[in-house]
């Protein structure tokens, strides 16, 4: 039995996950929490947000995020991919900034218009 605090929403439910029983989750407040509990032990993932350089925008940096969650172990490698990126305005929400992060099929996308 492992205790996990759910990070899906700000409520922060206290979950218990039973590894020896097919990763059965108790203590969740919603279906997303149940899924999170299992995933956190089997294959923990996170959405990563950061910034990249941008030319001609209202600010010198443009915020980006992963289009979906990626394995926790890949966070450092994913961050490195952003160092060499330089966008040029105009940028639109959802524009792909880096395609297929470390073979995951997940992209870095812009998270604002600029």
């Amino acid at each position: 039995m492992t205790n996990v605090i759910c990070i899906v929403c700000p409520k922060g439910c206290h979950l218990s996950v039973d590894e020896e029983n097919g990763y059965a989750v108790t203590g969740f407040g919603c279906e997303r929490g149940r899924e999170y509990g299992k995933k956190e032990l089997v294959n923990p993932t996170r959405v990563i947000t950061s910034t990249v350089k941008v030319k001609g925008g209202i600010h010198p940096r443009c915020p980006v995020k992963t289009s979906s969650d990626i394995p926790k172990g890949l966070i450092k490698d994913a961050m490195k991919l952003l160092n060499s990126v330089e966008l040029e305005a105009p940028v639109h929400v959802g524009d792909v900034v880096v395609k297929d992060i470390c073979g995951t099929g997940v992209d870095f996308i812009a998270s604002r218009n600029m």
Partner: protein, 418 residues
Amino acid sequence: MNTNYDVIVIGGGPAGLAAACEAYDKGAKKVLVIERDKELGGILNQCIHNGFGLHYFKEELTGPEYAGRFVELVKQTAIEVKLDTMVVEITQDHIVRCISAKEGYQELTAGAVVLCMGCRERTRGAIAIPGDRPAGVFTAGAAQRYVNMEGYMVGKRVVILGSGDIGLIMARRMTLEGAKVLACVELCPYSNGLTRNIVQCLNDYDIPLYLSHTITNIIGKERVEKVIINKVDENRRPIPGTEIEFDCDTVLLSVGLIPENELTRNAQIVMDRRTNGAVVYENMETSAPGIFASGNVVHVHDLVDFVTAESKRAGAAAAKYALGHKAGGPVTEVKTGSCVNYTVPQHIRRENVEKGVDVFFRVNNVYQDMVIKVTSGDTQLCAFKREHMAPGEMEKITIPKVLLDKASDEITVSVEHQ
């Protein structure tokens, strides 16, 4: 030039944008948003992490995305926006005086005004940290703007004081950008941030959290060189002999937010010393008729979703006032009982409540298995059970109108053990 508006909203952050949109939707024709920064969106623009909008949009957005949706909504309306413009004074009779480089000094008038100025961070001076005065001490939010918007890295070896959400978010952000975050130091025996942020910002990156500790010395000539922390006793006084030394070049402060109410105070609007915001009625109207307030300028929220909901109420009420419907009638005062630090609203005009009234508050400590009671005199109006309560988590209860009508001119919200 016509300088008369139905509704003027001061501040173009999430509160101001929601208030303006709602005022417009509810029939106010001439609506103006005044923003001192060069773009709309407020602090959300620097909050590039995700987790916003789960309540309001039912999906997980980053700060800029959440702001962007409201900016798009504003663009689809005839709402006017003045950027790079600073309001210097408002008056009880709805005159708004502002200045900008482009338009100079202007005097505007409005049927109703909504105050949405948000809050600012407490600084080193506000909490009087002893020690040298070198460079390298930042508030967490200022550092967040430098890193996320302006592209400056603020340091390499970091100690964070305070476990508020901005501090926790910055611990992760600095780590991802290659800095070493040595410690997050919290005076209270519990964290003041959301639990999920402790997990995904500190635990994920093995950043130690020192509860019941504080910074007792900052050492450095030009730049921060060392920070000393001490354990504190139950009265929050440092215990001699418990010093821990950190070699670092940067200190980030996440030690609370102060509603930015200079305009409010100057206009002689009645303030609440507990929230540092204006005293408000059920529709977010202040003591000055036709001047409303919403968002962090009234009380500091945990979630922007709740700021949006509150600001929509303020915007709707402002439109109603501007169109000639003024609220009145008998007033019920909301008093704070045991364990409750403050309530918003502080006053309820019973005739102005439709189905029920939402009351927001914070408790003064961490509690398990509690019950929230609303009483009027010796009568208990309603009760709500809570498994877990903490000062870092804003509580909300809804008091139905039918029960409120049974109350006298005073109700008390208290929290007791079950």
